[in-house]
Symmetry: C2
Subunit: 451 residues, 2 copies
């Protein structure tokens, strides 16, 4: 189903066409989104802070540029929002952790600054799981975000606010962060496109780290092209990214090299998820792209203990001062997750780094003959709040370990009305986004958010 | 003083000229070195295994090539030796650790294979401190290596056998490994040139690691040019390296960018070492190269605890199986050094990595305006066996943390007859080697090894 409001239905790139055609102004679009946030977010729980005045001022400036026919970029005037661990000048910047609840960002994170330089309208900040370290989107300090498609199911973490807000049409795109899958998991569960870029592509200044080894800033939107536009602006990467993913030559190139389809073991995957994966593999072949099964030896999809030790150790260093001064500002469950780093030894951590480096090297060699790897995005589709977070990272963490780009994309709804998603991991951002553009579908408006 | 034998006095590159002029054959050179090892190593304690038959066969093949006027490289026929943690096919490969004493390498390390492909004659393997983790050159399992210049003083560790053998003229060049200074420290104390290359330049396959983060294979020789020849062959790097460091254009380029001279604090430096450093700074200026003092903020030259924790943790992973099965195969002092990794926490190690990464970033920014950094090589000159190893790494570890090349080079002997050395750290191998070529001097033969 579509969003009733054509401004919202247009998505991020669609808005640029509407602006260019003078069918809509950035001020109207900004007001449309602010009004939806006002009206609908109480039932969604995605926004933590709305920056109305500054958004309106930005929209006004953007409108002037479009009026003069001189937009700054494809995202000029695009209403977007930002995960609460990414600094937005003047707004609380706490990464979902109680200990930082009174901290206000005194400048924009580098990726937000780049978005503003590209003309984007920053609507506000979005709920996340505490410290971006797995955990529930019922954040113990701030808000409980719901899945816009299936009430009382989780939106996925840790960028659950970002994915839910995009899915519900409360912003045209959003920034999230992805350490083990934190952009792709909620994107999958909320039925939007989520892209974790090549590590290092998006700048990390002004982002509260969880793991400096694995963190990346990623994007959520309702199409692969919108993700590319947002990524291009946030990273300062070549604007050609958008062009590349929709370029027919790109698709032709994809037909010349096989794509691998993961054959996994040790991970329990819901039948609906497997069906979605199989259907996508078939669709890939139908598009003329050769697909070969690949059992990735040396990478254990069922064991995430090394990754969680790494995050616990680096996260403990990141938050050392606050953990010392204000331990009560961390929930017992987050403290327990971080505490692994103090009960396990330095040798254990060195071993974890070694195991992951060896697994990455083995995976790179096996992936070398392929342009991309298709996997399920998450082992389970939308689920209740009781889900064990680590299990949800089974298929996403590989891209963080490799430092490679990966896109989770929606392909439809299952019989229970839950979004179905698949992941494409590739050597280049335009390839995973290109596959997502080819194989994914905009699911449109969740029933409760159409009007 | 010179070595009485012109073959030995010639050094590594000098031999190539003698071969080319047909004044000497590789077979004669090989026999000269084998005979010196036979005659003199009993008092030096550098060699652990001598590969006479294979060396003679290699020398014979090399002689054939030189006779035909078709040498494989500038090191064709060069008699060189290899630290005992680097695999030489058919020789014991134990890294100075008792637990591995019966292990024989079934193939050459990649760097040794490259040397052979370049025609080098591998004489044998050299003593080292146990596990390359600091410690004494009185290796508890194998041999005690002496300083060839000052009897009963240490040759420096951990590549002490390599540096001592080169200094005493028992080989024309040697391979060592350098994790915190293990090539440069013994080179300094033994009065030879020691070069730690850019990290990654020399291949690590077939080398027993201590720290995969910090390890590099480096070279020891009696001139910077000889180091460059050996490095070129061992790394497969461009043969132009040698040409570049002696090219007058390189010196002219050095005159256009200032060199930094370290101003340190917190490290107690012997007056003779300081005098050598000051003299070298003056010589640099006299050569027309601008020198500016630099106090490197953010890098603590007096605190090596993070580095030793990192080595302990990674070393514990490297040796995990042997530590489990045969703990008595490690000396109590090496076990104590490694045990830090099990008594300290994962968070401590993550903090160490973070501190070092931050220090490296700060150092890189401050070094950016300079072509190179001059520092003392070690805080103390030749010393007795009681020296605390960590202190000796004060000035060398920076290059490992940065992954940058650094060359220790001899400039003379002090009033006590001890070699004096200085270190040049640079952005490129040819620059640190070029400074060493300009400012360093071949000290010739130690009194006990002239004949």
């Amino acid at each position: 189903m579509s969003f009733a409001n054509p401004i919202v239905q247009a998505g991020l790139s669609g808005l640029a066409s509407l602006y260019s055609d003078r069918a809509v102004t950035p001020v109207e679009a900004c007001e449309a989104y602010l009004s939806r946030i006002e009206r609908l977010d109480a039932t969604l729980g995605a926004f933590l802070a709305v920056d109305r005045d500054r958004a309106r001022a930005s929209a006004h400036d953007s409108a002037e540029r479009w009026r003069r026919g001189a937009p700054l970029s494809p995202v000029d005037g695009a209403p977007v929002a930002v995960k609460a661990n990414i600094a937005v000048e003047g707004l609380p910047w706490h990464a979902g952790i109680g200990a930082y609840r009174d901290r206000v960002a005194d400048e924009d994170a580098a990726c937000v600054a780049r978005l503003r330089e590209a003309g984007a309208v920053i609507l506000g900040t979005l709920n996340m799981s505490e410290g971006a370290f797995g955990g529930s989107m019922a954040n113990p300090w701030f808000a409980k975000t719901h899945n816009p498609w299936v009430r009382d199911h989780i939106p996925g973490s840790s960028s659950g606010g970002s994915a839910a807000a995009v899915a519900a049409g409360l912003c045209a795109g959003a920034l999230g962060t992805d350490t083990l899958g934190s952009v792709r998991i909620p994107s999958s569960l909320c039925g939007v496109f989520g892209h974790k870029p090549t590590s290092g592509l998006t700048p990390m200044e002004g982002v509260v780290p969880l793991s400096w080894t694995l963190d990346t800033v990623g994007v959520h939107a309702r199409s692969a092209g919108d993700c590319a536009s947002l990524l291009g602006a946030a990273s300062g990467a070549a604007a050609e990214l958008v062009q590349e993913i929709v370029d027919p030559a790109n698709l032709q190139a994809l037909r010349e090299t096989p794509v691998a389809a993961l054959e996994w073991s040790g991970v329990e995957v819901e039948p609906e998820v497997r069906a979605a994966f199989d259907a996508t593999v078939a669709a890939t072949r139908a598009a003329g792209i050769p697909v070969e099964p690949l059992r990735l030896e040396g990478f254990d999809f069922s064991d995430r203990s090394d990754l969680f030790l790494l995050c616990a150790a680096e996260g403990t260093v990141v938050h050392a001062e606050a953990l010392e001064k204000n331990p009560e500002g961390f929930s017992p469950s987050l403290r327990a997750r971080l505490d692994i780093a103090t009960t396990r030894s330095a040798a254990d951590l060195a071993r974890a780094y070694r195991v992951l480096a060896d697994a990455a090297e083995a995976a790179r060699l096996q992936l070398a003959p392929y342009s991309a790897l298709l996997t399920p995005a998450t082992p389970r589709a939308t689920v209740s709040y009781a889900i064990d977070y680590p299990v949800m990272t089974s298929f996403t963490a590989l891209a963080n370990v490799l430092g490679l780009p990966a896109t989770a994309f929606p392909i439809g709804l299952d019989a229970q009305g839950r979004p179905q998603a698949v992941q494409a991991l590739a050597w280049e951002d335009d390839v995973s986004l290109g596959l997502a553009a080819l194989l994914g579908h905009d699911l449109g408006a969740p029933p409760a958010f159409q009007g």
